[in-house]
């Protein structure tokens, strides 16, 4: 049950409800129908019996009945209705309808003035197994005194049973049809009810995968609060990241300015200079690692405009070298993460490439389904094989450039690890080094 979907649960519940509801309804309606039909039969037989009583006459001790009665059912053989009159314990009259029926015994009589209605009687008629019996005893003036005369109407149950069976069959048929219609209605209803839930799930997954920043669709009232809560949570997470980053910036500022003063002091011994340089490297690297803000629900950004900005900046900074800086690859390339972090990685690599390059630096952006690829090539001296792995080590500084603090590539390696990306260093077809970065988009 734990793993069943909401839709399956609702459908199962509806099925169970219908499985219980339908037979109970049929049973209840059948019972009500039988009661009502039996009551109608009682009234019918009572009227028929009264007709017998009114037609009966006693001349002295001789009972008399007309040859034909108003009740046609009693005149017609095999009609299912049989009339009987018992006087002085003898059947003195039986209706013409009993032509093909032998009467075995007369049913037990009621007291004078009483009626007796038996719904399922048997044993009085040879070829009718079950029948209704309505009996009434009236007193008639005989020769000497009043004597009881018993009037019976027997009615074959077969017709009653047929009617009931037809009703029950009809009832089942309609109930099943109704159930099917209800099931269809329920399934459609469940889908309609669950549609906002599906929309919400889809939007949450789009937000989680970074394709949108907030939940924007309109939802039923019940989900509005949830939507607002999720959006508030996303905003507060972003604000917190930005606050955290700003705090780290302020910390960097307040640590580095006195460090700059210390390093600028005249006549500082070389060991002290070196120690201050190390302190700076540690601060720089650790703060950058701490400021890296990868989170699960981060929006994707387009790396292309950011790359263009960086290339403009590089062309300004390295203006003296008159480098050809250019971008190739896809017109857009997504990166799932923080813009500052991507800029930090690409800035460091491009800056190194510009310092090393003789005449050109190329950046290639490509986007596949689940990964984005960024490749930076230069036509500088390249990196010897045995130094490639060392370049990514902590604080490594293999170049001979005047500028730079020597931890740029280590910061890049840290950030790539945080973003679960990959970093490769190869020889470029341009003649120098090729640095390839790949980042997952999910």
């Amino acid at each position: 049950m734990i793993n069943l979907s909401l839709r399956l649960r609702s459908t199962l519940l509806a099925l169970i409800a219908l499985t219980i509801f339908i037979p109970v309804t049929v049973f209840t309606l059948d019972k009500a129908f039988i009661e009502s039909l039996t009551q109608a039969k009682h009234n019918e037989l009572k009227l028929m019996n009264l007709a017998l009583v009114s037609a009966f006459e006693l001349n002295g001790d001789i009972p008399y009945m007309p040859e034909l009665l108003y009740e046609e059912q009693l005149n017609l053989p095999d009609s299912g209705y049989i009339g009987l009159i018992v006087f002085r314990n003898k059947i003195v009259w039986k209706s013409a309808s009993s032509l093909h029926n032998d009467l075995i015994a007369s049913p037990p009589p009621p007291a004078v003035g009483d009626e007796n209605f038996i719904t399922d009687d048997s044993g009085a008629i040879d070829n009718i197994d079950h029948y209704f019996t309505y009996a009434f005893t009236a007193e008639f003036a005989a020769e000497r005194n009043f004597e009881p005369v018993h009037f019976y109407i027997l009615n074959d149950r077969q017709e009653f049973e047929n009617e009931r069976t037809a009703f029950v069959n009809n009832l089942w048929r309609w109930m099943l049809l109704l159930s099917a219609a209800l099931m269809v209605l329920l399934i459609v209803g469940i889908n309609v009810v669950l549609s906002p839930v599906r929309g919400l799930i889809k939007e949450i997954s789009l937000t989680a995968s970074g394709q949108q920043r907030h939940l924007t669709r309109h939802y039923p009232q019940e989900f509005t609060a949830l939507k607002h809560s999720i959006n508030r949570l996303l905003d507060s997470e972003e604000e917190q990241r930005s606050r955290y980053k700003n705090s780290l910036d302020d910390l960097a500022h307040s640590l580095k300015t006195p460090l700059a003063v210390a390093m600028g002091t005249d006549g500082l011994p070389a060991e002290t200079q070196e120690a201050l340089g190390q302190i700076h490297n540690i601060i720089q690297r650790q703060l950058k690692r701490a400021a890296a803000s990868k989170s699960g629900w981060q929006a994707t950004i387009d790396a292309v405009p950011l790359t263009e900005k960086l290339l403009n900046a590089m062309s300004k900074v390295h203006q003296d070298k008159q480098l050809k800086l250019f971008r190739t690859g896809s017109p857009t390339c997504k990166f799932k993460g923080d813009e500052t972090d991507l800029m930090e990685m690409l800035g460091n690599i491009l800056d190194n490439a510009c310092k090393a390059a003789n005449s050109q630096v190329r950046i290639t952006l490509q986007q596949a389904e689940k990964w984005s690829y960024i490749v930076i090539d230069d036509d500088g001296p390249g990196i010897p094989n045995h130094l490639k792995s060392q370049l990514l080590a902590r604080g490594a500084r293999l170049d001979t450039y005047v500028e730079g603090q020597g931890i740029g590539m280590a910061v890049v390696a840290d950030l790539i690890a945080i973003y679960e990306g990959r970093l490769e260093i190869k020889d470029s077809e341009l003649g120098g080094a090729q640095i390839s970065l790949s980042f997952p988009l999910t």
Binding site: M263, L276, K316, Q319, L346
Partner: protein
Amino acid sequence: MRMLIAEDDSRLLTQLDTFLQQHGFSVDLADNGENALYQLQEYTYDLAIVDIGLPVMDGFDVIRKARQDNIKTPILILTARDRWQEKVEGLDAGADDYLTQPFHNEELLARVKALIRRASGQANPTIRFGPISLDTVAEEITVNEQRLDLTAYEYKVMEYLMLNPQKVVSKTELTEHIYDQDFDLDSNVIEVFVGRLRKKIDPEGTLRPIETLRGRGYRLNRDL
């Protein structure tokens, strides 16, 4: 060369001031963004060093507004926030180069000189006109490979003229670029420096390296 340093940390400001003065720069100081912008608008500098984290108005705004006012002074941004985003934003706003704190003074000096050189259209640290050559790194002038023994102010005058070779430079301009803002201006001193320079560069009187344009100022001899 006249320079503006906008930095709010007084210790760093003093240190930069001392260091750059030692290297022959006339330095004006500003300790907040508003003052820095005002000074950039009011005076002509050869270079400005602007800290990003300035009070009152941050460095980005100072640079942006200065560029909007068509001030072309080369600007080096100084930042303790050494993220590329800040550097790119600063360069985007109109700065020409950046330097992250902490830095070695030598690196600062190299960047400053490179920027001044670049602004004058010279890519090479050594600028040559005929037999005269100016080494902006070593801060020395040679004539026919012979190093001249110049005072700091003489060097400054010659450096300015060589970095602005097509330009007629007035005495006032020269004064502004080799002296600090609060220096008591006396244009006669410039005439003395120019006279001494002519003698040291061209004792025979054959080169005539500095032309005098009466009532207008001085210009480097274009026929050198």
